[in-house]
């Protein structure tokens, strides 16, 4: 596929963008990274994602694919000769899709509430967040990764949020490792992989970004 033209429209701090970077890294796909300004959206972004006007967008030979988990599935199918991201058995695939959907429904929304809310609402979000991580710990069990011996679809869906944990902890005044040591051990294990460490951003930089956003929204 040497003639493939692959571009990723993204924002550096986005965990959704990191999912795509990780999937591309696992498959060894060369691509052009294009940092987007979400305040002044580019004509390219608006053209490639007219419905949602959001990142990430993967543009493959001129054709756009939107929504991070849909992009990850597309990457798995378009570059199917290497590093399968989803299992081959339909039941296992269904389980992977279920848990990635769970991450989408719970982790982002609850995490966002932690850094944007106060008082009771923030406490409820923290509790929900920890409960969700504990459920995920249960699903991980004794496996090194959700994908088994190798990183898979659920790992790709989840581990980018680790870069936001420090921001959640600091704004929410709680300690995730104290409640969910297995989850933190798992995330650190993932980071030992080069594909993960080069696709994920520094949590301290993400925290500075969140502080900037909080000031912007009048939360600080």
């Amino acid at each position: 596929m040497a003639s493939d033209q692959v571009t990723l429209l993204d924002l550096w701090a986005s965990p959704f963008g990191m999912r795509v970077r990780l999937a591309l890294a696992e498959k060894g796909v060369k691509y052009e990274y294009s940092e987007q300004d979400l305040v002044n959206k580019s004509a390219l972004l608006l053209q490639m994602n007219p419905v949602h006007k959001k990142i990430p967008v993967l543009v493959h030979n001129g054709k756009p694919v939107c929504e991070s988990l849909i992009i990850v599935q597309y990457i798995d199918e378009a570059w199917k000769d290497k590093a399968p991201l989803l299992p081959s058995d339909p039941y296992q695939r269904a389980q992977s899709r279920f848990w990635a959907d769970f991450v989408d429904k719970k982790i982002y929304d609850l995490g966002r509430k932690i850094w944007t809310e106060k008082g009771e609402d923030q406490e409820a979000a923290k509790k929900g967040f920890i409960d969700s991580l504990k459920l995920l710990e249960g699903e991980l069990g004794d496996k090194p990764y959700f994908g088994g011996e190798t990183i898979g679809y659920v790992d790709i869906a989840l581990v980018p949020f680790y870069t936001w944990f420090y921001a959640y902890e600091t704004t929410g005044n709680f300690n995730i490792e104290a409640e969910c040591p297995k989850m933190i051990a798992y995330c650190k294990r993932c980071l030992q992989k080069e594909t993960v460490s080069k696709s994920l951003e520094d949590p301290k930089k993400v925290y500075d970004f969140v502080v900037m956003l909080r000031k912007k929204f009048g939360l600080e």
Binding site: P50, V51, H60, K63, V65, C66, E67, I70, I71, Q73, Y74, E77, A78, P90, Y91, R93, A94, R97, F98, D101, F102, L135
Partner: protein, 213 residues
């Protein structure tokens, strides 16, 4: 072939999605009507995370979340395919499924609220209908071409539930002349034999939703 069971409720559009896929693929199954005010031990055992329907049980193993179930059915029973083969076409199909998941049924239920919440729900729904009309259908008969696909199944609630909810909530957003493509799609979807034979009755639904709200 291991047996297939479906835990659902009438008239949940999410239940019906699975019923339509099972019927279109000719998969025999046993249906169990759940009482959500008194959830069965089987439901709680098979869907401990969300405790919701639909749940598909195949050979004793349970699969939850309607769209996850649809993709599972597609991969396990490839006859009468409900997804395109090409990865890009599949990505587009999944995009439109996700779109209706986020903007669809939940929003319409808000029609039973009032004031600002209802106004916002109506505005959001109109936006959703416009986007589908302009971007999703094009000149195709169904969302992915000439045959019914997973996408049509995901949007299927519009073919019956939307009119009932509008009637009960006293709103009229879906006007055929404003949304000709969507209107034509709804007619074609309802005319498909497997769908036609498996739609909840209009009057029964009116009674059901009246009692609920």
């Amino acid at each position: 072939m291991a047996e297939v069971k479906l835990l659902g409720t009438w008239p949940s559009p999410f239940s019906y999605r699975v019923i339509w896929a099972l019927k279109l693929k000719g998969i025999p199954y046993e249906y169990f009507e759940e009482d959500l005010s008194n959830k069965s031990p089987l439901l709680l055992q098979c869907n401990p995370v969300h405790k919701k329907i639909p749940v598909l049980i195949h050979g004793g193993k349970s699969i939850c979340e309607s769209i996850v179930i649809l993709e599972y059915l597609e991969e396990t029973w490839p006859q009468n395919p409900l997804m395109p083969d090409d990865p890009y076409e599949r990505a587009l199909a999944r995009f439109w499924v996700k779109f209706v998941e986020e903007k669809g049924v939940a929003v319409w239920v808000k029609f039973f609220s009032s004031g600002e919440e209802k106004e916002k729900a109506m505005k959001d729904s109109l936006e959703m209908l416009k986007t589908i009309e302009e971007h999703a259908l094009g000149k195709k008969k169904f969302f992915c071409g000439d045959k019914i696909s997973l996408v049509d199944i995901a949007y299927g609630w519009m073919a019956r539930w939307m009119e009932v909810i509008e009637e009960l909530a006293g709103v009229k957003l879906f006007e055929p002349q404003k949304f000709p493509r969507l209107h034509a799609w709804m007619k074609d979807f309802k005319d498909e034999p497997m769908i036609k034979e498996n739609l909840p009755g209009h009057d029964e639904m009116l009674v059901y939703f009246k009692n609920k709200h």
